[in-house]
């Protein structure tokens, strides 16, 4: 940690990996990448960019469902929001996650519900997969809308 004293004012600057919650933030962002990756496999089939495979679609949908049921509370410690000193540009988690807690739990549950339907349908043909994409999109957007800041 570098501390620079300028006259009466003390400026403290942090390197991202020296932040108290760097690990937790890295873990939750990586966790989101697992969502994105599996959803990308389904999305490529839905868009027609990849051939439909019932087996692969079911596997990806089941991964998403299992991920959404993980108990992740430890990745979201209070004080690890983008408004905390040193955290801008490191995390895009809004302070509202904590100030409106436990609302974020409802958003997670809504995604799990959409993923139950996707896991049940993804192996039953392309139409069933496609018709469940909207619900999953709502699940992701439903939480990113209030709780994640825009990431340029």
């Amino acid at each position: 940690m570098a501390t620079v004293a300028l006259g009466a004012t003390t400026y403290v600057s942090f390197a991202a990996d020296e932040l108290a919650f760097a690990n937790q933030i890295e873990a939750r962002q990586s966790f989101m990448h697992v969502y994105r990756f599996n959803l990308g496999l389904l999305g490529a089939m839905a868009k027609g960019d990849a051939p439909y495979s019932a087996e692969q679609a079911s596997a990806a949908a089941n991964n998403l469902l299992a991920a959404s049921k993980m108990s992740n509370g430890a990745m979201w410690p209070a004080g690890s929001d983008m408004g905390a000193e040193g955290y801008a540009g490191v995390t895009w988690a809004k302070p509202e996650i904590w100030s409106t807690y436990p609302k974020i739990g409802e958003k997670g549950a809504a995604l799990t519900e959409a993923l139950e339907a996707m896991a049940a349908g993804a192996g039953n043909g392309l139409d069933a997969l496609r018709s469940n994409m909207g619900g999953v999109a709502d699940g992701c957007k439903g939480c990113h809308e209030p709780f994640r800041a825009e990431n340029d």
Partner: protein, 308 residues
């Protein structure tokens, strides 16, 4: 000396008075028979519900334009008015001309200026026939008797008269006219983006007085919408959507159209923040209109995200 000073002061006062006067148009409107389906399309393209319906409204509640949504900005808190067809609390008593003057000139029926938090600088680009269809459609929506409190703005923004100067300096900048050089599809996209879609209201950077910087058209901006605490700690940056490498140069036209339809970017991350409501409005347009927006966004100048 004193006399000369008074004359100068008088001239300046007159100039201020004239420049800040709210002028509406009294030109007669064209004959028109309403196309309600087109009015509905304009309603979604214009995103009226995103500001004028209740904050948590979904589905059919989006059609109740009861107002009262607060917009926390650096200038203070704006509260959107009730624009339902209720004759007392909404705009049910307005003539077509009143509506056109509000949308195009930013002037109220009692000749006051509107704040550009109401995106009329963009809506001024909507064609008259489309405005008439939009008003006809709004007239069919459920009335609401919700009474909305006024804005809570910091001085000097609390003075409406000053908006006259703002308009004099900025309003023309946001105009976007038909070019006749581009394809029909790109023209349609230009119209939707620069007019009803008011994409620039969020994606174009503004100067210190809140005027769009034309040279930075759609090249990204600081978010003016603050979080619940009404400070900048949860406001992020709105992305560059020009075809620059720092923007969405790597997205194909079909990627853009797909994102507007579903809310997923090409990597299957989902939209968040205020773009979610915009996207859900765009999802209600015909597929050709999303394709037109995509074609236009690929045709505009590529601009870097950083001002040089």
């Amino acid at each position: 000396m004193l006399v000369a000073g008074l004359v100068v002061a008088g001239v300046l006062a007159c100039a201020f008075f004239v420049l800040t006067m709210a002028r509406s148009s009294r030109e007669p409107l064209p004959e028109h028979s309403a196309n309600f389906a087109n009015g509905e399309l304009l309603f979604w393209a214009g995103g009226c519900a995103s500001c004028h319906a209740a904050a948590d409204a979904e589905d059919s509640d989006l059609l109740i334009l009861s107002g009262g949504r607060s917009l926390n900005t650096p200038f203070g808190v704006f509260r959107s008015p009730n624009i339902s067809p209720d004759p007392n609390f909404g705009i049910g008593g307005w003539s077509m001309l009143d509506f056109v003057n509000a949308m195009v000139k930013g002037v109220s029926p009692d000749k006051r200026h509107y704040y550009p938090a109401f995106p009329y600088p963009n809506y001024q680009n909507i064609e008259i026939d489309d405005l008439l269809d939009l008003k006809a459609y709004l007239n069919t929506l459920p009335p609401s008797s919700n009474e909305v409190a006024g804005h809570s703005l910091q001085f000097p923004y609390s003075l409406r008269r000053g908006i006259g100067l703002w308009k004099w300096r900025y309003l023309a900048r946001s105009r976007s006219d038909r070019t006749n050089e581009a394809s029909e599809q790109i023209e349609r996209g230009r119209y939707l983006v620069r007019g009803p879609g008011h994409c620039g209201a969020c994606h174009t950077a503004r100067d210190q007085f809140g005027g769009e910087i034309t040279e930075r058209l759609l090249a990204g901006a600081e978010s003016l919408e603050f979080g619940e605490g009404n400070d900048a700690s949860s406001a992020g940056r709105i992305p560059n959507i020009t075809p620059h490498a720092e923007g969405i140069g790597g997205w194909s036209e079909s990627d853009i159209a797909y994102a507007l339809e579903t809310g997923f970017d090409p990597d299957f991350d989902s939209f968040g923040g205020s773009m979610v409501e915009v996207q859900e409005n765009m999802a209600r347009l015909p597929a050709e209109d999303r394709a037109a927006i995509a074609a236009y966004l690929k045709s505009i100048p590529a601009i870097s995200s950083e001002a040089h």
